[in-house]
């Protein structure tokens, strides 16, 4: 991969994620017949939070401060493992898909720990929910990746996502739908979680970060959008056709990401949230979709 492409990769990964949140917000506003906040509002919000001071509870320890930092660090590492427009990611090696999956695991582990560190009943509840639901989201992600492994006979994301699909449309659709469900769950969107709610009893992700403020909260917002970006890139790379032209592929990726944000916004505008106890059912359904994808491809 050329140096230029690597630079574009880094630049895009660092700057584009909040835009996706802006597109989702605009889409929801359009559905509701409102003008909505500016497209760039998430950037303004993060910039605003970065300038603020923060309040830290005396009961917390270094774990509480480490939560957001580990969260953003794992996100940035993960984005380096996924090929965006080019053939290759920033770095790759056989088996990097396991690292990819557990970078999210590590980030989540620290987010949950930071939440428990505050000793608040709410945050403990949020942590419990996050941990429970990730038990169901993880197998769905792995089964989805397994289809790609089988197809490309490789365990490196760069090769897996670079392969061309021929005549396995059914399997492709199943994997894309399954990973889209995982994306919605991992990024705490409706129908799993409501990112706009102020009702702490119903939250999953938001309630875990109630105690964070100022720059820490800004980082959390950024990592959340980064997570959406990384998982989105995975879905778009699988679903979108390759043009054969180097810069055309980058264009497809950017366009695909914006389209994905529109889709997420549309889902949020047309669906109510699931009852919390039904969340695992939907994630199990995602696992099954991927499992069928494997069956179809391994026959």
């Amino acid at each position: 991969m050329s140096i230029l492409q690597s630079l574009v990769h880094v630049l895009l990964a660092c700057t584009m994620p909040p835009l996706l949140l802006g597109v989702i917000g605009k889409t929801k506003a359009a559905f509701a017949g409102r003008v909505g906040a500016p497209l760039l509002q998430p950037y303004y919000d993060i910039a605003k939070l970065m300038r603020k001071g923060s309040v830290v509870s005396r009961t917390t320890t270094w774990v509480f401060r480490a939560g957001p930092v580990v969260g953003v660090a794992t996100g940035l590492l993960a984005v380096a493992l996924v090929p965006l427009g080019g053939e290759q990611a920033l770095f790759s090696f056989p088996g990097d898909l396991v690292l990819f999956a557990y970078l999210f695991g590590l980030g989540r582990f620290f987010t949950v720990l930071a939440a428990l560190d505050t000793g608040s009943a709410f945050e403990g509840m949020g942590g419990a929910r996050e941990a429970t639901f990730s038990c169901f989201a993880e197998p769905a992600l792995f089964l989805g990746l397994l289809v790609l492994v089988k197809r490309s006979a490789s365990t490196s994301l760069s090769t897996m996502l670079g392969a061309h699909w021929h005549g396995e449309a059914a399997s492709l659709v199943l994997v894309v739908v399954s990973l889209f469900i995982v994306l919605l769950a991992e990024t705490c969107r409706i129908p799993f979680d409501d990112p706009n709610t102020h009702l702490e009893l119903t939250m999953i992700h938001e309630v875990m970060v109630l105690d964070h403020s100022g720059p820490a909260l800004g980082i959390i917002h950024y990592s959340a959008s980064l997570k959406l970006f990384v998982l989105g890139a995975l879905v778009v790379r699988i679903a979108a056709p390759r043009t054969g032209n180097v810069w055309g592929d980058w264009g497809v990726l950017v366009g695909g990401m914006l389209g994905l944000a529109l889709l997420v916004g549309a889902v949020e505008s047309m669906m109510a949230r699931l009852r919390l106890r039904q969340v695992p059912s939907l994630l199990v359904a995602a696992c099954l979709l991927s499992a069928f994808g494997i069956v179809l491809i391994a026959r």
Binding site: K28, F31, A32, G33, R34, A121, F122, G124, M125, A128, R129, I190, P191, D194, N196, T197, H198, L199, E200, L201, T202, E268, S269, M270, M271, A272, R273, L274, R275, L276, R277, Q278
Partner: protein, 508 residues
């Protein structure tokens, strides 16, 4: 055993015709009330010549009668009736707090609003009179066990809502018990309404209008009925009709807002955004009558202060029709979305038997299959002439409470439209004289949440010696606590919104 005095809604009767029963007979009449299809609409105390007198108002919905009775307490305690008749539990707690008399055997005797007793030197909990009670400081019901955890929410909430404290005993996500502690907004309205001499307090009307801000018309109507009945003031048909229109507009606005808020709580945006705007349209209809969106200063004893002329009525009908059409469209989206129905159905169920035994009123009772509507059962004002069908649903869940709201929206809209088309004649406001001395009046109004009950007792000069207000929230908060039993804690906001009870109407 002496019988209770039977009367009707909004009638003034001489105080001495209300039978004074022995404590035993008084208790018996209350304990036996549910079995005789009567429910406790009001139970309160006041002081006469240094003795505490208990006063009860039982309502029998089937024949539209109210039954009044009283008893004099000879000691500072009386045997509690809560174990035999659960619907009096909060009334007894209130009596204990206000007058320092102990309902002996009450299973959960705690303060209600955290105020000092009105009788100096008497406190039901033996607290010193020097220290003001701290709101919310008390023992909560607690469940013990390895895996039990307690969640405390409020009194300060994340949204812009009123203060109230909720204490959950949870096993994982499941709620075993919810205890609700209010009183943060106690302002002493009932005491402020009392006067020594014959004149009524000039501020009374303003106090009543702000008793529960979203129920301005409901509470003010109840107050006006009391004053008018006591002073034998004849209100014109036109004034009664205008009051009815305002009351139903209040219902339309609040029901619409609640349906939108329910949609918002399950993250269903289309209905949430439509209804938020449409609620404003209904409020603006009220504003077009009197200049205030909540109907402040629209009503006054004797009638109303603002008229609706022909052209305004025509204009209102056009705007009403447009708003109702939009609401029905927005609400149809709710019923047609499986994801919304999955959240609403079977969430926060209150069975018919629980609703009856707790004495729930209004919308919450009707959604649990209890046919109970003051406009139909115990009508006063315009509702003696015009009937609105009672909207009932049987399932008692969030869906039922949402569905009954949508039914009531359609039916209230028909009422408003019909009465705007054919406004009867008459003076807007008849003069009100002095209130009759030594009299009692019970006034019930079906506000949008449910039965609003005002009871006034006058002294020998015609001033209010006792004035009691029971907002529907007073009865229904216990219903919310029951709805949460064995429910997911994450569904609490949805259940809470489906009841949408008033904090300040409860705290007074």
């Amino acid at each position: 055993m002496k019988d209770l005095l039977s009367t009707r809604n909004s009638r003034a009767i001489p105080k001495d015709t209300v039978p004074v029963l022995s404590l035993e007979d008084f208790r018996k009449s209350i304990i036996e009330a549910p079995g005789r299809h009567r429910r406790v609409a009001a139970l309160f105390a006041y002081e006469v010549d240094k003795t505490v007198e208990l006063f009860v108002v039982l309502a029998e919905d089937r024949d539209g009668q109210l039954y009044l009775g009283s008893t004099r307490l000879e000691s500072n305690s009386f045997p509690s009736m809560t174990n035999e008749c659960p619907q009096v539990h909060l009334f007894e707690r209130e009596i204990a707090e206000e007058w320092g008399v102990v309902p002996v055997g009450h299973p959960w005797l705690k303060p209600v609003r955290f105020v000092r007793s009105r009788r100096e030197g008497h406190d039901a909990w033996g607290r010193s009179a020097d220290v003001a009670p701290m709101v919310g400081v008390m023992d909560f019901y607690s469940v013990k066990g390895e895996e039990i955890h307690e969640v405390a929410v409020g009194p300060v909430h994340a949204g812009v809502i009123e203060p109230g404290h909720f204490r959950f005993q949870c096993h994982g996500e499941e709620v075993f018990h919810l205890e609700i502690s209010l009183g943060y907004q106690h302002r002493g309205i009932e005491r402020a309404l009392l006067t020594k001499q014959g004149e009524l307090s000039k501020r009374a009307l303003h106090y009543v209008e702000t008793l529960a801000g979203d129920t301005t018309i409901g509470h003010t109507t109840a107050y006006c009925h009391v004053v008018e009945a006591l002073s034998e003031c004849r209100v014109s048909a036109r004034a009664h009709t205008l009051r009815g229109i305002a009351l139903e507009l209040e219902r339309l606005a609040n029901h619409t807002g609640d349906l939108g808020a329910l949609a918002n709580d399950v993250g269903f945006l289309p209905t949430a955004s439509f209804c938020g705007r449409l609620r404003g349209d209904f409020l603006n209809l009220t504003a077009s009558i009197c200049g205030n969106r909540f109907g402040r200063s629209l009503l006054g004893p004797g009638g109303v202060r603002f008229d609706i002329d022909k052209s305004r009525a025509d204009d209102m009908i056009v705007r009403l029709d447009a708003a109702v059409r939009d609401v029905e469209g927005a609400v149809d989206l709710l019923w047609n979305s499986p994801s919304v129905q999955a959240r609403f159905e079977d969430t926060g169920q209150v069975s018919t038997s629980v609703a009856t035994s707790l004495g729930l009123v209004g919308l919450a009772a009707r959604a649990s299959g209890v046919e109970r509507d003051v406009r139909h059962d115990l009508p006063a004002g315009i509702f003696r002439l015009a009937q609105i069908p009672v909207s009932v649903w049987h399932s008692g869940d969030v869906f039922a409470r949402a569905y009954v709201r949508s039914l009531e929206i359609s039916r209230s809209a028909i009422f408003v439209r019909e009465h705007l088309r054919a406004l009867p004649g008459g003076v807007l406001r008849a003069p009100c004289g002095r209130a009759a001395p030594n009299s009692v009046c019970v006034s019930l109004v079906e506000g949008w949440r449910g039965e609003i009950c005002h009871v006034a007792i006058t002294n020998p000069t015609g001033a209010f010696h006792a004035y009691k207000v029971f907002d529907p929230s007073f009865h229904n908060w216990s219903g919310l606590a029951m709805a949460l039993r064995n429910e997911q804690i994450s569904d609490f906001p949805l259940c809470n919104k489906s009841f949408d009870l008033s904090y300040c109407g409860f705290d007074l």
